[in-house]
Assembly symmetry: C2
């Protein structure tokens, strides 16, 4: 059995990368008179990576990186009106309706009847809080943690803070880098549910999944059955069988 099941939020419970991806398309369109789409995408990604140490994750840092990329790629010829459009893209992202992934609500509602649930998400504090609130899912969760990054250290701090028994803890997410591998590394169990688009920064290559010891599901609708199976396995090896 589990005491606590934690979920990543962006692209695990609701669409997020879709929003970034659509905004990048608009950004490439805006600069299409200056550069090719491939070149814009590459320059933006490099700029985001260089800015990560100053801006962290989230939409506002993404907006500032788009503006810098636009200035760079147009050699400063970008107009004030075009830069205003980029800021409008960001504001549109920040106020976009939260679109839940298929099955997410029913699965969360069902698991919340048996388990304490937690959200662990990274990004802008303010943006993540309003998304949790607008998602309609907040009442199913007992704990919320918005973190600036998801490293082994981050998770170890949460384990200490909530006095989590890792043998009875399950983490569910769509990023091997952020949600799965750090949990496996500290001895927790994790369920990897890939999302159809993944930001290049979050991808991990060349792993041997069997060896890494996590579970993988095609979509979140399959999670309750896996949790049931793992719980029963836990019961069978534990002292009290039901």
């Amino acid at each position: 059995m589990f005491d606590l099941i934690a979920f990543d939020a962006d692209d695990t419970l609701w669409h997020n990368e879709t929003l970034y991806s659509k905004t990048q398309d608009k950004f490439k369109q805006l600069l299409s008179n200056y550069q090719s789409a491939e070149w814009i995408e590459q320059a933006l990604y490099e700029r985001e990576m260089r800015n990560l140490q100053y801006f962290g994750y989230g939409i506002k840092g993404f907006a500032l990186s788009m503006i810098e990329t636009a200035i760079e790629l147009t050699q400063g010829r970008i107009s004030g009106a075009e830069i205003q459009e980029i800021i409008n893209f960001a504001r549109d992202m920040l106020k976009a309706p939260v679109q839940l992934l298929e099955h997410a609500e029913e699965v969360i509602a069902r698991l919340s009847q048996t388990y304490d649930l937690m959200i662990i998400t990274k990004g802008d504090l303010f943006d993540q809080e309003t998304k949790i609130s607008r998602s309609g899912l907040a009442d199913y969760f007992t704990h919320f943690e918005i973190v600036s990054d998801k490293t082994r250290d981050t998770y170890e701090a949460l384990v200490a803070r909530y006095d989590i028994d890792l043998g009875r803890f399950l983490m569910v997410g769509n990023s091997l880098r952020s949600d799965i591998l750090p949990i496996v590394a500290i001895g927790g169990q994790a369920v990897y549910i890939p999302f159809h688009i993944t930001w290049a920064h979050e991808t991990v290559t060349n792993q041997d999944e069997e060896q890494l010891g996590y579970f993988e599901l095609e979509h979140i609708g399959l999670l309750p059955a896996l949790v049931d199976r793992l719980s029963n396995r836990g019961d069978a090896t534990g002292s009290s069988q039901q």
Copy 2:
């Protein structure tokens, strides 16, 4: 006695508004060919207030508001190079050394020997985390809470989360609006230590300080003596006198 003493960070433990103020001066200088300093300051403040619901508090939102203000006030004539300068202002703010206020380090070190200390600060998660880390004060604190806003609801949630006994809790900060009045409203004790510059948004007018029931000190160096006095008073009225 107190179980827990919580501190605001920006302009309570280290300089912050000074950084914004210097950046605003550079921003006004940048636009000085287009508009008067007063007009720029007013337009920027209004823009920040309109953007607060989308961007929340912090330097990245401030940068986006400066850029929008610059585009508006120049009717789009601002150049790409000038907008790049505005982003550079923001990056300079994000990597600026943390300048502790006078007496802050000695006071925090001393109080940490007797009390559990906590930081409660609002703004960008990533920026606040790196400032805490760079301040050199982190080891003196037991708990850190970075919140998106400081309202009565925020504090009530923290009181529940940490199981805080408000009769044995003290909050110290430089903003009546964010640090003092919400704490007094929920029955906690608070020490107001004004900073010489306060952002207009954080000011509160027309209060009767006596009636509001908080303590006011001229600088943080005076805090240990006040805490000692309050602790002794607590002992005298409590069951165990020493």
